[in-house]
Subunit: 323 residues, 3 copies
């Protein structure tokens, strides 16, 4: 169990104690429902204020705005960026809850059912989990974590502070074939994958290698689980991609985009910077203007859907009315 | 090869022999097309009656209603719930066809390229396949099967009679990040995953751990392949989720729901009990009323789609006609 | 580094030298941007002609039509099927770039954290990577490659010249359950999976075994990453299926179809030969006529989507206008 005073915590999470006793000791962070007296809770929205009456926690982290509403806490900590302070607090207390860090390796020979090629270059403080494959000429930067059952094919380059979650496959052959009458002839994809610093890749995600030039994942990009990134895609810095989204070959995504889950982005497109895509949307054309986009059939009861979809299909019967 | 009399079979699958010889011996269950004389076939729908003329099978399992139509079988077995009896029959004959059960382990040290933490608690008659990772403080109940290449992170709790198919990843970090200007700061997800009894999880499915409280999969829930369940999702008892469906963070799904394949359910929603979602639908709002829902653009020839989608986009040109 | 003369290259890729010196030596194939003098580039489209001024490459592969435009290359190679010649060239130079081929095995006992059942039949020149599981009675044909972390369940039959990429799971239980009040009783799927010659299966793809008869993947079928193929699906020869597409149980797909990425095909349907499905489409009915189909809500700015989707839902207010 971790023990940290409120004074120390505030320094580490960029926050300050608005009211209370800075010498009180905290042992963890928890939800309103499950927190004990010595655990801190996080309140970021008005709608949770009602629930604060039931919590055992004496200490909360919140915003300057919500603080006056939180009279039933002994200790109130405020931050200009409360969600960031919350994230930092979870990191601080993490070791007390979960310790699922793969063991450190000091050489290229794994001791845990992982194969690491002798020609791979592995940086300092790199963690590689169980049942991984690290191919020839792979480069892995410092402080990078490869979790379990991850496959990294030949010649993939991975930067510093990268996290690759379990089951991800990086650098497999792109889906490019030439036709020889009814046979498909596989193009051997010779470009690799380049993953820049601070990238986070989710579980069972796949990133294919480029045809001749590499597939590129920019700095600070975060990618969720079960995402597919095809050959020669380029993703700009700080872009976030939620689960199950697929990006087809040779598409370029800008910086600071936020792509919702299960979005399908077609191939050979260009998405500019600062684009937000609603989850589940179909992106079949390039987007040149920053902003928020959507493409979702409305959700209705099934019997309504049958009527509406029929009328939709007959729209050309009334097209004369359009002008 | 298994050998069982019709008399014994009927007792084990809750069925009864309507006509025939209860001492006949059966060796397996098979399709109409491929069955031999000593194999039983299953006929559940009118449309298959025509095909019964060609089968070699002498024995069929069917409903009371269809039985009179099946005069060309020597032995006719009927059941009040024929599909359930069929399921039980497949289980009975399974060992003769497939024996892909992972080997039993009696201790926490695996003999098959699997890592099982010394602090994991593994119940009786648990099967763990090859190349698995079972993290610290994981709890696995009795009679549970973990197939191959499965990753179970720290502190995940798994009940009795659970089946987790190959390649699944349970308890990886949720996709929650705070922004620090253009950097994403990962929230360390400290809640685990709780999987209740009799749950079935498909191949390459991912279930993320909760932020502070756990992600919860209720009793008797069945989940297909390549499903993604995000942090802090709660799924009610007996709900079924088909392949490739994604459920975003903090959404709660009721009991006995049937979610089709490739459905996208947005985050922070509540779906009530007994809801049926058509495959591929977009669920971007909570559902408070049981029933069947859909959200699908109609399938048409591409040239028709181009016309219709254009007219759809111009609907506001005729909005004056709506009243 | 590979060294090959233009004369030799032309013979191997079914092309001919239109202009230049057939004794020049090539070392690899590369992109216009990154190629060196001794590397060949590929130009297939008009739009790349402008970029040829900047390349260092002296040799290009192109079509008869584009050749006259490519005066700044010393050596111009032309082919009647330039994309096929390109594919063959990538294969020729592949060994110089990537060598991520799993090691050959000569027996059923793996030396690389892979389990291969003693009852599996493995052909000649088969490559099996790390951390794989090959179950009982599996058959693997000649020249087939199973990459890393692949799971092949009992009784799956795989043909010759098949490639199965990392993380794929072949032959897991289908998602078929009978209901016993609020409990789901798993049907044990006894049919296997049959994968014919020259099939290519992508990373983290899952193919479930059939209920009684097998799931069938025809000859020359190519399947991308994270695809799901349910129990008893049949896929006709030479069909291509892009990433993240899902095909529900008992559906039959014809020959030479091209199914885009993230398409959802419902169960128990029949898709005829030579059908093209636009990525992300919903296929909820059988398709009897060859051609190109789509089903996509148009992509618009979010505020436009809100207006349009509202009007769509009210189409029945104007249905009187339809006639």
């Amino acid at each position: 169990m971790k023990k940290i005073t409120i004074y120390e915590l505030c320094k580490k999470i960029n926050a300050s104690l608005l009211r209370g006793d800075e010498n009180n000791v905290l042992t963890s962070i928890n939800s309103l429902e499950n927190a004990t007296e010595n655990e801190i809770v996080f309140i970021n929205q008005n709608k949770f204020i009602g629930e604060t009456k039931k919590t055992c926690a004496l200490t909360c982290l919140t915003s300057q705005n919500l603080a006056p509403e939180l009279q039933n806490f002994k200790n109130v900590i405020v931050s200009e960026n409360p969600y960031l302070s919350f994230a930092l607090a979870t990191r601080l207390f993490a070791s007390a809850h979960i310790k699922d860090e793969p063991k450190n390796i000091n050489s290229h020979v794994s001791n845990s059912f992982s194969f690491i090629s002798e020609t791979a270059l592995v940086g300092k403080n790199v963690q590689i989990g169980h049942n991984c494959h690290v191919g020839d000429h792979v480069v892995i930067g410092d402080n990078t974590t490869i979790e379990n059952n991850v496959v990294i094919y030949d010649s993939v380059k991975i930067g510093n502070n990268v996290i690759i979650s379990s089951g991800a496959v990086i650098g497999s052959q792109g889906f490019g074939f030439a036709q020889d009458s009814e046979k498909w002839v596989q193009i051997k994809h010779l470009g690799g994958v380049v993953i820049h610093d601070n990238v986070n890749i989710g579980s069972n995600t796949t990133i294919d290698r480029g045809t001749l030039d590499p597939t590129i994942i920019g700095k600070d990009v975060i990618i969720d689980n079960l995402v597919h990134i095809a050959h020669n895609v380029k993703i700009g810095n700080s872009t976030a991609i939620a689960a199950m989204t697929g990006i087809a070959g040779s598409t370029t995504i800008g910086q600071r985009c936020m792509i919702g889950g299960m979005v399908g982005i077609f191939g050979h497109l260009t998405i500019t910077d600062d684009v937000i895509i609603t989850p589940k949307s179909n992106v079949y054309r390039s987007i040149k203007k920053p902003g928020r986009y959507a493409s979702l059939f409305p959700l209705v009861e099934f019997r309504v859907w049958k009527k509406i979809s029929l009328l939709l299909l007959k729209l050309d019967k009334i097209k004369s009315l359009y002008k």
